[in-house]
C-alpha cells in the first residue's frame, strides 16, 4: 500500500519532469550541451539566451547547465560527465578549474567530441576554439576613454578583482599598457586588488584616494570593483572619473545619475551565440581560429539605451 503510494508520488513527480523536458532527441539531430560556470546569475542567463538563439538559427538542440556557485568544481565535473554520457555532437565548456577538468576533457577528445571553450576558456590544447571577450582590447578602450575624460594628463588608479585570474591579468595589462604607450602625461599611481568584493574594494578605493589627493580617475575592472570605487569616492566626497566593467543594477544607475562616467560591457549573448555557432562549424569540418572574439562596447549615459547596448546589459 505504502509502496504503491510512493511509486505513485515518484511517478507523478517524474511524469511532470518528463513533460517539462524538451522533446526527445531524434537520432540524427545535432545536440550541443553547454556546461557553464553558473546559471542563475544574469550574466549566465544572457549567455544561455544567446546559445538558445543560435540553436534556433542553426536548427540544433542546445541545453545549458551550470553549478549554483562558482566554487562547486566537483558539481561542474559531474555535469560535464553527464553531458558526455548523452553522446553529444559537440560540447561547450567554461571550466571553473581547468586542471581539475583534464581527465574529462581527455575523455571527450578520445570520443572525438569537439569541445568549444567559452568565457574565460580552458587551459588546455583540447578545445578546438575559445569564444571570449578580448579583455586586453576592452581594457585598452577603457584607458582611451579615461584619457579623453581627464584631458590626457593626471593621476589614475586601478581597482582590480584579482591578480591571478585570466580576466584580472588581461584587464590590468590592457589598461596599463595603453596608458604607458599612448598617454605619457598620465601616471598610474596604484593598482590594487579587492577580490571583486564591493566592501573590500570600497576600503581600497578610500585608501587610494587618501594617499593621492590629486587623483583624477579610477578604473574598476569588474562589477564589484567598480561599485567599490564608486562607494569609496562617495564616502570620501571626492569627484573623480570612474570607469567600470560589466553592468548590473547599481552600475547602470550610477552611470545614469552621472556618478560613474561609463563602463565596458562584454557581450554575454554573443558569447553564447558564437559558442554554438563555432560548434556547428567544427562539426562541418571548418577550420576555426584559436580564439573567437565575442565583442565588447563602451557605454555611458548617452548610449545606455541604445538598443544594441541595452541588449547586452543585465541587471
Amino acid at each position: 500500500m505504502i509502496l504503491k503510494r510512493t511509486f505513485l508520488n515518484l511517478a507523478l513527480g517524474l511524469g511532470l519532469a518528463s513533460t517539462l523536458s524538451t522533446a526527445a532527441l531524434a537520432a540524427d539531430e545535432i545536440y550541443i550541451p553547454m556546461v557553464s560556470k553558473g546559471f542563475q546569475h544574469q550574466f549566465w542567463q544572457a549567455v544561455k539566451a544567446g546559445a538558445e538563439q543560435a540553436g534556433k538559427d542553426y536548427k540544433v538542440k542546445v541545453t545549458f547547465e551550470g553549478p549554483e556557485s562558482e566554487s562547486m568544481v566537483d558539481k561542474q565535473i559531474d555535469m560535464f560527465a553527464a553531458a558526455l554520457a548523452k553522446k553529444p555532437s559537440a560540447i561547450g565548456f567554461a571550466a571553473l578549474d581547468s586542471k581539475a577538468s583534464i581527465p574529462l576533457l581527455k575523455k571527450a577528445q578520445a570520443a572525438k567530441i569537439p569541445v568549444i571553450a567559452f568565457d574565460s576558456g580552458v587551459d588546455s590544447d583540447i578545445p578546438v576554439t575559445t569564444t571570449t571577450t578580448n579583455n586586453v582590447a576592452a581594457a585598452a578602450l577603457a584607458a582611451d576613454k579615461m584619457a579623453e575624460l581627464i584631458g590626457k594628463s593626471g593621476d589614475v588608479a586601478l581597482v582590480v578583482h584579482d591578480q591571478t585570474s585570466r580576466t584580472g591579468i588581461d584587464r590590468t595589462e590592457g589598461f596599463v599598457n595603453r596608458i604607458k604607450s599612448t598617454y605619457p602625461n598620465i601616471k598610474i599611481v596604484s593598482v590594487q586588488y579587492g577580490g571583486g568584493d564591493q566592501l573590500k574594494s570600497t576600503e581600497i578605493t578610500k585608501s587610494i584616494l587618501q594617499a593621492n589627493p590629486n587623483l583624477k580617475g579610477i578604473f574598476g575592472a569588474n562589477e564589484g570593483s567598480a561599485i567599490g570605487a564608486l562607494n569609496g569616492a562617495r564616502e570620501m566626497k571626492r569627484k573623480v572619473v570612474i570607469i567600470g566593467y560589466d553592468s548590473g543594477k547599481q552600475q547602470k544607475a550610477a552611470i545614469l545619475d552621472g556618478s560613474m562616467a561609463g563602463a565596458i560591457t562584454q557581450n554575454p549573448v554573443g558569447i553564447g551565440y558564437k559558442t554554438v555557432e563555432a560548434a556547428v562549424k567544427a562539426l562541418k569540418g571548418e577550420k576555426l581560429p584559436k580564439v573567437i572574439d565575442t565583442g565588447f562596447y563602451y557605454y555611458d549615459k548617452s548610449t545606455i539605451n541604445d538598443p544594441k547596448i541595452a541588449a547586452v546589459l543585465y541587471d
Binding site: 509502496l3 503510494r5 519532469a17 523536458s21 556557485s69 591571478t164
Partner: protein
C-alpha cells in the same frame, strides 16, 4: 527451533520498521533506475553508471558521517566545510611542506577527527545546541580554509599518487570492462566499517541509546558526554576521508567549496530512513539515500530536464520520501 518459531522470526525481521524502510528506499531507487532507463537510452550505459557511482562517493561518505550524529538526535552542519578543510590540510602537508604521501592522508583524517572532537566538546561539555555549535564550526572552518590557502586552490602536482586515491580503478585492473573508480570502493569500505561499528560495538549501542533516551542513559551511570564526543570525533574523521576523496578527484583542494554539501548529506540520511529525532537509522539506508539523490540528479540531466526543474523535482522527492516514512511510523 520449530518451524513456526523460525517463521515468526523471519516475519519480525521482514516487517521490523528498519527493514521495511530499507525495502521502501531500495524500491524507490530501483523505480528510478527503471524509469530513467526507459526515458533515455544514454542512461543505462557503463560510462554513465560509473559516473553516478563516482558522483555518489563524496556525498555518500559525508552522509555516513552525518548518520552517526543524527542517530544521537544531533545534527552536524559543518560536514561540508570540514571536508574542504581536511582537503586543504592534506594540501598544506603535501604541497606546501612537501611531506610524504601517507602524511597527507593522515593529516586529512587527523584534522577531521580534531574538528569533530571540538564540536563534540562544544555540544557535550559547553551544552551548546548541536545546530548552533556546528553552524559556528561550519563558518570557522570555511574561513580557515580561505585564510590558509589565500583563497586559491592548492594543486597536488608534486604528489602524483594523490589523484589515484579516488580516480584510479583497482577493480578495473581485474575487470577492464568495469572501471569503477576507487572512490566508490572507499565509500563501500567506509560503509561496511561504519555499519559494523553501529551494530556490533558498544559505541554503536550508545549512539542509538543517546538518540532514544539520553536521560535514561545518563541515569544508568553512563558517561554520556564522553560517548557524545566520541561520536562527533568519529564523524569528523569520516569527513576527513570525504576530504581526501574530493581533493583526489579534483587533484586540488578548492577552498571555497563545501558550503551546501551538508544539506545534500542530511537529505541522503533522511531519505534513507534515519529519523531526525534520533534513535533509529542504518548505514545501508543512508547509502541508498545517497544513491537516490545522485541517480535523480544524473537521470534528470540525461533527460535534459531544465535545470530549474531539476531542483524542483529533487525537493519534491525529498518530501515524498520523508512523508512515506511518516506514514510508515503512523501505521506501526
Amino acid at each position: 527451533m520449530t518451524v513456526s518459531k523460525l517463521l515468526q522470526g523471519i516475519k519480525t525481521a521482514a516487517f521490523s520498521s528498519n527493514t521495511r524502510q530499507k525495502l521502501l528506499a531500495f524500491a524507490s531507487l530501483l523505480g528510478l533506475l527503471i524509469f530513467f532507463s526507459m526515458a533515455s537510452p544514454s542512461f543505462m550505459q557503463t560510462d554513465n553508471m560509473v559516473g553516478i557511482l563516482q558522483a555518489t562517493a563524496v556525498n555518500g561518505v559525508l552522509a555516513i558521517a552525518c548518520t552517526f550524529v543524527i542517530i544521537t538526535s544531533g545534527i552536524d552542519l559543518s560536514v561540508g566545510t570540514l571536508m574542504t578543510f581536511c582537503a586543504v590540510m592534506a594540501g598544506v602537508v603535501l604541497t606546501y611542506w612537501g611531506l610524504p604521501f601517507y602524511l597527507g592522508v593522515a593529516a586529512a583524517i587527523f584534522f577531521g577527527a580534531l574538528s569533530g572532537f571540538i564540536s563534540g566538546v562544544l555540544i557535550a561539555k559547553l551544552k551548546i545546541p548541536p545546530f548552533i555549535a556546528t553552524l559556528g564550526m561550519m563558518l570557522m572552518l570555511k574561513g580557515l580554509s580561505l585564510v590558509i590557502t589565500h583563497s586559491k586552490p592548492i594543486y597536488f602536482n608534486d604528489t602524483p599518487e594523490f589523484p589515484l586515491i579516488a580516480q584510479d580503478s583497482l577493480i578495473g585492473y581485474f575487470l577492464p570492462e568495469l572501471p569503477i573508480p576507487n572512490a566508490v570502493l572507499i565509500l563501500f569500505v567506509v560503509a561496511v566499517v561504519s555499519s559494523l561499528i553501529l551494530n556490533k560495538t558498544v559505541l554503536g549501542t550508545y549512539t542509538f541509546a543517546l538518540g532514544s533516551n539520553e536521560e535514561a542513559v545518563r541515569l544508568s551511570g553512563v558517561n554520556v558526554d564522553r560517548w557524545k564526543i566520541i561520536v562527533y570525533t568519529l564523524s569528523g574523521a569520516i569527513c576527513g576521508i570525504a576530504g581526501l576523496l574530493i581533493a583526489s578527484r579534483l587533484n586540488s583542494a578548492q577552498p571555497a567549496l563545501g558550503q551546501g554539501y551538508e544539506l545534500d548529506a542530511i537529505a541522503a540520511v533522511v531519505i534513507g530512513g534515519t529519523s531526525l529525532s534520533g534513535g533509529a537509522g542504518t548505514i545501508l539506508g543512508t547509502i541508498i539515500g545517497a544513491f537516490i539523490m545522485s541517480v535523480l540528479t544524473n537521470g534528470l540531466r540525461i533527460m535534459s530536464v531544465a535545470q530549474e526543474w531539476q531542483t524542483v523535482v529533487t525537493g519534491l522527492i525529498i518530501i515524498a520520501a520523508v512523508y512515506a516514512d511518516i506514514l510508515r511510523k503512523r501505521k506501526s
